[in-house]
Symmetry: C2
Subunit: 339 residues, 2 copies
DNA sequence: TTGAAAGCGCTAACAC
DNA sequence: GTGTTAGCGCTTTCAA
């Protein structure tokens, strides 16, 4: 069962008739070792197919060359991109990445933190669940000097590093864009209010209306669970109002595609009857007709940034850093009035 | 830097004035230890917030409780689902998962294998790159008794376990479905021929035509690079033929959505002028109009299965297992003639 | 029922 | 320039 085949320093030392320490030093290109010895060792190591045992190293240093990541669901374009960014940056510094999914469950999140702690990873990047309100499991890490960086979803009022998207500004810009297109009755299709993402984006929307001296109409703020059925119904309610909205902002993928379907079902023209723009990371927004305008997170960049910050912490820089990553607005057919 | 805070057996032993060995045994519920001692130890461990150091364990056993995974690109619905399946099964057995991306590069794949080997993971699940033809890096693992399972993309004629999709049968079934819809001029839109996925699916298509005594027309077999531009052009060429195909099978997501766009651009009715079905894992196939018929891999199940097989190998069952996972055909509007 | 000691592979402090 | 030794945290003989 146990793989006990790779050669060790001991094997090389024995073969060359020198001490283990000398081999160790030679392999580290320690200048104290004579060139001749260094070369003999290098040679032998190559021949014997030596590879350093990181575990032994880790036992001494107290940590594995591994970064732990906890996300709600890796099976989404957003989080898999974040992970991809993390992995790339980590690999450049010789760190591997262990991912765990919390499945939006607080209990699982606590388990994940414990598991990573037990594995003695060098640091953790986390995107907390929607239900996480108690952060003691993360505070415990701080006590052990295990650095943590939060990504995508920050935690409130704490001394942690984080990398988040500029939600408020993104929603503000999207609303501005619709206003510039001539829309005056702009509705917003939200997920459940308890999500921070929702409150932030809604905030940006309201600000933009204010800034442009447009009325905020409560009836234009629609809420829906995040599933196609519910979102289609919510959209239909918006579209059946006496003063029908002339634009809709959808706060995520699911809501966006559902809104599109509801608008089409109703036989309305998009964008001329109703313009549509939504927060979404999926490329398929471009392939449907009309192609859908979107606000896209720079998810990969968020991952890369979070990992860079974490590596700094691992290397001893303790000051927390809060980084905000701008979003990208992709204006396509669904939000451009033909005039 | 080093996290040197969690308490160790030594700490507990010191506090209780007993030996480390006794503590170790007590914690393992070794019946040789008196109940009183066991309880005292358990109590102290709890109080001191003891957690076992897996690394020390791993140094002895020679392997980490971690499974390594290598995929071409985790940022796809297919591979992120495979990973999700692997992770879930691994977690049940107390294993974490390290993922690495080869980015379809043979060199990176070799690096990844080496990295995982150096980390002394307990086993590896891999989906080889399109360019991998030499498998010596995997053979090296076998020599070290490091178990390997291939997933999604098998490697030829080797004594390895694998989990793959039933591509030939899937294409056969899709072709049959179109024939049942009354289609007689069925075209297939392929990616580059060097991909095994392409040759297999093409094989199923040809078999199905044969079985139904339909002619295989070479001009109906279109090749395209896997990008929207190229695929749209290839589709346009098909649609401009004197005897226009009355159905198209697209071999992946990108080809499928591009074909849809080309058919619409041409003003043809789907499915009545041209029926369309494609291999795809994305949910958005359902949201466009007409909704797109697809053949879907059971990617999550493939991951789960691969991981179960790997865990068996890790636990000492050496015989290689080849498992084939059926696909799911989702018939939607784009392939159902209205009659 | 418990303790002492060896050893997993490596590095670093301390000789010489 | 090189060797000796201790020690990271744990399990496991071997002794008592």
């Amino acid at each position: 069962m146990a793989a006990k085949n790779s050669s060790s320093l001991k094997d090389i030392a024995a073969k060359l008739g020198i001490s283990i320490a000398t081999v160790s030093r030679a392999l580290q290109d320690n200048p104290a070792i004579s060139k001749a010895t260094r070369e003999r060792v290098a040679q032998a190591a190559r021949e014997m197919n030596y590879s350093k045992n990181f575990i032994a190293d880790s036992l001494r240093s107290g940590q594995l060359p591994v970064i732990g990541v906890i996300v709600p669901h890796a099976v989404t374009l957003f989080y898999s991109s974040v992970l991809d960014g993390i992995e790339q940056v980590a690999a450049q510094d010789g760190y591997a990445v262990i991912n765990m999914n919390s499945h939006e469950s607080y209990e699982e999140e606590r388990c994940n933190v414990r598991s990573l702690q037990n594995l003695h990873v060098a640091g953790i990047i986390a995107s907390v669940t929607q239900e996480t309100e108690d952060f003691s499991h993360f505070d415990a890490l701080a006590k052990e000097h295990l650095p943590v960086v939060f990504v995508a979803r920050d935690i409130p009022t704490r001394n942690y590093s984080s990398v988040t998207a500029d939600s408020v500004e993104a929603a503000h810009r999207a609303t501005r864009h619709l206003i510039e297109q001539g829309c005056r009755r702009i509705a917003i299709l939200c997920g459940p209010n308890r999500l921070k993402m929702v409150t932030e984006r809604k905030h940006g929307y309201i600000e933009a209306l204010h800034d442009n001296r447009l009325l905020v109409r409560p009836e234009y703020v629609a809420y829906s669970d995040i599933n196609t059925q519910a979102a289609m119904q919510a959209t239909e309610r918006l579209l059946s109002m006496p003063e029908r909205p002339d634009a809709i902002i959808a706060l995520n993928d699911t809501l966006l595609f559902a809104a599109m379907k509801a608008i089409k079902n109703k036989g309305l023209d998009m964008p001329d009857d109703v313009a549509l723009i939504g927060f979404s990371d999926v490329e398929y927004a471009e392939y449907v007709s009309p192609s859908l305008s979107t606000i896209e997170d720079q998810s990969r960049l968020m991952g890369e940034t979070a990992c860079r910050i974490l590596l700094n912490h691992i290397n001893g820089s303790p000051a927390p850093v809060k980084k905000i990553i701008p979003t990208i607005q992709r204006v396509r057919e669904s939000s451009c009035k033909k005039r």
